[in-house]
Symmetry: C2
Subunit: 243 residues, 2 copies
């Protein structure tokens, strides 16, 4: 037995697994998603196609593993951006994470589309790496909004104002996620999240190409609209206009 109970073989195997995902990513970036085939990845690795099945049981499994990688990377980018501000400044931390999300989308367009642009539910079944990584990702924003609200409650609608069905669904979510947050707070979060992520989805699907060539100010405008709903003062991005 080697140190830490991890055998030499296992270490080599993990390295190979990572190398495979890296090759898949390279193909994705250089030649698009349809180029990420078992055969092409194996070729990239200098091995035969079927050899890859010793590492990932199917094409779909490889795709899922790569997706989980991207999710983790994105989540880490969000967390770094958030942690660039001290723990108490929830507003700044939140805005920073939002901007980091778009920044990651822009600097990794192929990966972003890969992660968010597939309605395919198959690889997203409960328990999969993809599903877990996805939860972590949502968590970042939700946690910060919760912290923000606890530290300085922003105005929320009265429970009676909410649509009963929406209230019920949000309550069910809060219960299943073990959240202590009032439903109205989740509602505000949900509303803001839909605005932000909806915009990014449209940008990613090229739905707004007919209107815009530069989406950066549109995104900032979205933040400017969201901020007051969370009781925040909008602040322009640190580096001036864009990046």
């Amino acid at each position: 037995m080697a140190a830490q109970g991890v055998s030499r073989r296992e270490r080599i195997r993990q390295t190979t697994l990572a190398e495979i995902r890296a090759a898949a990513r390279r193909l994705l970036i250089e030649q698009g998603p349809q180029a990420v085939t078992i055969n092409a990845v194996a070729r990239e690795m200098g091995m035969s196609g079927p050899a890859l099945y010793h590492y990932y049981g199917s094409h779909e499994e490889l795709v899922g593993a790569v997706t989980a990688d991207f999710f983790r990377e994105l989540t880490q980018a969000l967390e770094s951006a958030r942690d660039a501000y001290p723990a108490g400044e929830h507003g700044r931390r939140l805005l920073s994470a939002c901007r980091a999300m778009r920044q990651w989308a822009i600097t990794h367009p192929a990966e972003f589309r890969w992660v968010f642009g597939s309605p395919i539910t198959s690889e997203r079944r409960p328990g999969s790496a993809r599903e877990l990584a996805g939860r972590d990702f949502e968590q970042v924003f939700l946690e910060e909004v919760a912290a923000l609200w606890h530290s300085r409650p922003f105005p929320v609608p009265a429970p009676e104002e909410l649509d009963p069905s929406i209230r019920k669904q949000l309550a069910a979510y809060a219960a299943s996620a073990g959240l202590e947050l009032p439903v109205e707070v989740i509602h505000v979060f949900m509303s803001c999240w839909i605005r932000l992520d909806g915009l990014l989805c449209m940008e990613m699907l090229n739905q707004l190409d007919f209107l815009f060539t530069d989406m950066e100010p549109v995104f900032e405008e979205c933040l400017r609209e969201i901020a007051p709903r969370l009781g925040l003062a909008y602040e322009p991005p640190p580096g001036g206009a864009a990046r």
Copy 2:
């Protein structure tokens, strides 16, 4: 020569073309997008694979033609819903068209995803059937908003309030589309459109499954938020709650 200068052959050909697209659609609905292959469609038609190349030059061309079909169908659904109200009632016409869009999405989920869920720009080059059909589609909403504004101007932001970059881009769009509308009006339209379509995009990409099982009230809430921005009174859908 037959009547109307359309030969018998040409008529048969058009029929076959339509039948091919119908077979493709059937496959899409019953077995998903990946089942829409040249070979499968040909099989469905009772002919050999290569025979289909006499009708559509490539898989991509067939996909584009099917997409254009869907776009036209959706556009027609929007127009019917709009025209269910008299020409003067722009507000009701607009809301009706919005609801029709979601209704079509719900009743034709596979087709909706097919149309909106592909970031692939290749088939969307200028002049393609898909590109033209896409413009018609956007036009429905834009036209109605324009008519609404002309008949009863809603409040718009002052030009100075708009981000200079956004203003410039919207002005460029207005010029290229030959619109007589002030940039501020286009800005309001754009803002509403992003809300509406962004929400539908997220729903389509299953991005909100973790929060909602029934998106209908969420959509209505979105309409309730949009309506006042266009100077409209929100009215619940005619049939009561949903559908």
